[in-house]
Point group: C3
Chain length 306, copies 3
Amino acid sequence: MKTIRHLIDPEDFTKKELDALIALAKKMYLNPEKYNSICTGKILATLFYEPSTRTRLSFESAMLRLGGQVLGFSDASTSSVSKGENIADTIRVISNYADIAVIRHPKAGAPKLASKYAHIPIINGGDGAHQHPTQTLTDLLTIHMYKASFENQTVAFCGDLKFGRTVHSLIRTLARYNLHKFILISPKELSLPDSLKEKLIQNKVLLKEVSTLEEVIDEIDILYMTRIQKERFLNEADYNRLKGSYILNSQQIKNAKKDMIIMHPLPRVDEIAYELDKDPRAVYFEQAKLGVYVRMALITKLLNVG
Amino acid sequence: MKTIRHLIDPEDFTKKELDALIALAKKMYLNPEKYNSICTGKILATLFYEPSTRTRLSFESAMLRLGGQVLGFSDASTSSVSKGENIADTIRVISNYADIAVIRHPKAGAPKLASKYAHIPIINGGDGAHQHPTQTLTDLLTIHMYKASFENQTVAFCGDLKFGRTVHSLIRTLARYNLHKFILISPKELSLPDSLKEKLIQNKVLLKEVSTLEEVIDEIDILYMTRIQKERFLNEADYNRLKGSYILNSQQIKNAKKDMIIMHPLPRVDEIAYELDKDPRAVYFEQAKLGVYVRMALITKLLNVG
Amino acid sequence: MKTIRHLIDPEDFTKKELDALIALAKKMYLNPEKYNSICTGKILATLFYEPSTRTRLSFESAMLRLGGQVLGFSDASTSSVSKGENIADTIRVISNYADIAVIRHPKAGAPKLASKYAHIPIINGGDGAHQHPTQTLTDLLTIHMYKASFENQTVAFCGDLKFGRTVHSLIRTLARYNLHKFILISPKELSLPDSLKEKLIQNKVLLKEVSTLEEVIDEIDILYMTRIQKERFLNEADYNRLKGSYILNSQQIKNAKKDMIIMHPLPRVDEIAYELDKDPRAVYFEQAKLGVYVRMALITKLLNVG
């Protein structure tokens, strides 16, 4: 029997596989009609144990645009699947209803556990504070679309670098490429965990840590903004003190490079001023669009079709 | 770039466009097979910030019967889209997932706001007490199917004419046609707002206001019943006093014309007795059916296909 | 006009019809590609007035695998359909949106009532403690797949035989076939209702009642396990005393026949030890898979296609 491939962690794929996936996503973006029925007769199950409308709809759109079909649930509280049943049993049942599944779960490790019992490929659609690999793939594709090569790029991460799952996952993945420099911009309280910094240092990447955007804005090629989420703070006073510190606006990018790109995983709350939406450097809505194509490529690859 | 058309208010369409839409809906009703794949490859997003199962399923059925596909959410409370994100950002993201969207929202004006940021056509699926244009289109098509011409018709509205969004929207639209007479039947407390009455008078439509069905039943060609919703009343005593006043039954239509039609936007609670369901004049379930065809025509027109 | 067939109670079908349905399901299982577009253009409505994710997804998978489409709701509390409207009106409206509907409802009799007003075939997807006919069909198909003939089989039911809807429904249906013997294994407090026992006795089926698995395990061809649901008990002390009594594990099936099959409607909580999952006699996950094929056959038959 053929081995079933899953995507639980971005590191499940070799660099070569990642590159092939990104290349396929690009082709799909440029010529979507060519792929609009390669998943005919296939079913994607969207198993969302916590709501994440954007991620769910991005996957559903991807599968429908490939000619496939979708079933699932969008919130375990209105579902009966969690009533005393473990995820191992659930996924063995769902394996009979669908050909591939994406699992979003509040508990870290749940998609991985499910993948051990599944008879179909499992995609991790976000597991708590742990991983969100298709966001990472989306980010990779976005960089590829705007920057011809990863080499010589200076990428800056700004905001909550301590708790941001998206940032951790992307940093770990980008560390596998030959970037020029990483710049970490965060309040001290929300700086990148040491284990990740060490990983970067081991990989001989240039690393700079600062606490304001101002001092580094003219060096940046790729600026990755993140939200400082209220729920990550231990007390409200800390939240209120810090929340305004990392808001991007026209004034702040005055000295930025003309071809810098501003990325954001969305939803934003107020960390990027609306006035920037029309700036050609703001690519976050395009990034959301690219997320559909990277998911199309991923589904295609895991189903081994086309 | 081609202008994207939306349907937020029935008045977004010229009378000529309305007539063309109704004519297309009729054709689709008579020959649905001809249209069953003109939306192949297209995706409708159903964005329901408040539940409205009937409206949502009518749209989904319409899109599926055109060969298209559907994704979305049925209740914002089980969705994550409202978490601090404004609808402008949401719709810019969703514009990448779907080719057309219907938005139901508790706040008046939300679909209009969304349409300003969308890259895809937006249909207003009901925004609070404000508008529900596809119900109006459904009503128009129903009248067209049963009455060869709008001219010389006497149309009566019965029930809550003060708060009824459906009634206001239909009255405004019918005022654009040459009807013979409008009859308004309601308790004084729930009579049609003056601004709408004035609009009718300006258009030189005959207007009659009464407080009982009895005194006008023999004049009516089209009787539009509406529910007196409990939630519209300021106190329960008022509700209890009035709720029984406008209930239609066999006795009450004894003197009605043989070809009068009884319409209702559904759901009914008790404002039409079940005994009338088999009366050939009761067309409210057929009206619900016609709602699918008018939505098929609308989607087709806004997507500019077929 | 042709009569519309529904499936509300397994006894709605003659034995001959049941046999034909099972035969079709088998064919679909062996050669699914042959049937993957016989429902093109058809829509299934899944009307779940209470959540039952497994049942709902099984139906959705069945319809999609036939080339059809699906719309509906998964929980009446996030739906607006129950707001004061009776199911008779709801189903008359839904009849315009779909070609066939499955109804899950907490109240016994609701699907039957709906079927009286529907213009489309209605399938009972479980109505309270009353019936769950597609589970019964799934169980029948499972027995057919593993046992060449029903004759001479000894079937045992273990667990909550007093309240178990699944068990009652299957026993009534199996009583129509020439089985060799029924064995009922349950605590006295949860034994099969007398009316059902009498039905078995009238049909001249051998009947044996015991309170432990141990004393009969070597006689059994088909062992049907059920969960003892906490919510069925009047007090917690009873629940705690009995819940552990009917747990199946390797030790308990030591003396079982080599070709005995272990069935379970799922979800299980702890009534079957995980160590049995790899035992070839454990067929409960395969049973869930067969549920899709039997529903494919049912939809096909009720729609009168293919």
